[in-house]
Symmetry: C3
Subunit: 208 residues, 3 copies
């Protein structure tokens, strides 16, 4: 998918480096989620100027969505926990992607609720960060990037053991077509390699 | 626990971010340790002014303690290995928390000895770091913190798959009481959420 | 091994900190690889001055070798994937060590092909990095090192759940001898510790 997006000139192929699978398994297995992003923008608790939503963001999660939480850098707390996964699952969400920290690792696995994150924290958000806006564009920057990637509400998020990718809606169809072609090519390439054919000439021939 | 400590004004809720469970399992499962800290302060081998203990620190580990090792930053070696876990287990320690690196991952798991650390290293401490003092206050600083957390000898350490927390002894009773109350609330909250009740109103009602 | 190399004055004991086992298991288990390094030097795609090999490096992998890939820092792409492991396995390689990123985690595990790396990336190398030279010396620098370690073609690489070590060929025999002696000592030490003997006096006596 990311390769197709690179071909389609999407910066960094829409790949969100540094976010990895924690549930249902740790960076392994066949679990995969795909759905439109429901974005949540968090700010420092000390930021009194940023707006505050009228209701808790967890109750606004749409069916089939992938929740995307953006937590400020250089903060120590978690912004997601087991009770939130419980509610999100009842509401029919596909899973949650956290550009930040979460807690209750065993609880998410017990729920079999897909969860991707930067890492762990035991500490709740109280006194550290708070929700500011729901369904607004949020930026993503990994340590190896020079330019931010923007995650817009409704962008498609695909996430599995290999990582998390964001796909702009106008490119979804083209992207899927490129991926199907490539999957077919990879399958044939694998057969050739298992039969002892050389790598360079095989991909030169099959990837044209 | 960390939430209770935040309420009790302990900086960062006593949470030691960046230390995670490596044994008996990797960041998963029900293993939990709780006990008074036996602290060990390490310095660079090149530091000839810092004191040197008369005996090896491993032989001074008290029964039921949680060992806490503080290794200088920007060093490449391990300060703990399988033979040390073997001795610590014989002496009745609950487990070891290493603000630094360890080796012999399989050996600790085979012993079923709880181990939490910053990470791995194959290289022994010889020529890199050495023990300087036992049962002295040691500082902890994670990459997201501005102020250090001090771990004092006798502070209570609680560690599980979600991370490591330090609890000052005068707060233990109050902290446990807050936690029991919160566990009760979380249990009720979970029941409400599973029954389809909204998150915001439920926590507003139950957490009062 | 690294301890023996420290004794033999090899910088950092030849230990490549930050590279860890992803396949066949994640930082656990008895898998171990040992073989001469087949090195691959990658450069930024934008580097038009660096040379380009005539053929794809994967087809030059020698039997019994350990592949060592050096990817530039501050890049976001992967330089290794499942199809490459498929070809490398057919050619009889012991495994691959990547100072950089890879993808297709499940595929490598399914192949049972040993893989060690800095981390993951979904994005292919196209437009980001490219192969420049095969079987040339490549440098390694971890975040805790001041001086680089050089990996030369033909250096021996040993890698297991505890990490990756590079051994200069002239030291292999001496190193193995020191390791056998030390293994014997560690076995005796373990027996003493299990019998309740103290750590300090035991290692003082047995390690002489």
């Amino acid at each position: 998918i990311a390769d197709a997006l690179v071909k389609l000139k999407v910066p960094y192929g829409g790949y969100l480096q540094g976010l990895s699978m924690y549930s249902p398994e740790r960076e392994v297995g066949s679990a995969k989620i795909f759905g439109p992003a429901f974005t949540v923008h968090m700010v420092l608790e000390s930021d009194t100027k940023a707006p505050t939503p009228a209701t808790h963001f967890v109750d606004s999660i749409p069916k089939d969505s992938v929740i995307f939480l953006s937590q400020p850098k250089k903060t120590i707390n978690s912004v997601w926990g087991g009770l939130m996964s419980t509610r999100a699952q009842v509401l029919g969400s596909q899973g949650v992607v956290i550009d930040g920290y979460f807690r209750d690792i065993n609880e998410h696995k017990d729920l079999n609720f897909p969860l991707f994150a930067r890492g762990f924290s035991i500490v709740a958000s109280n006194t550290f960060t708070r929700t500011s806006a729901i369904n607004v564009p949020v930026p993503f920057v990994s340590e190896n990037q020079t330019d931010p990637i923007t995650i817009n509400p409704g962008d498609f998020i695909l996430a599995d053991a290999d990582g998390v990718v964001v796909i702009p809606p106008p490119l979804v169809e083209q992207c899927l077509k490129l991926c199907e072609e490539r999957n077919e090519v990879d399958k044939k390439t694998r057969e050739c390699l298992v039969n002892g054919e050389a790598f360079g000439p095989t991909i030169a021939r099959l990837r044209k």
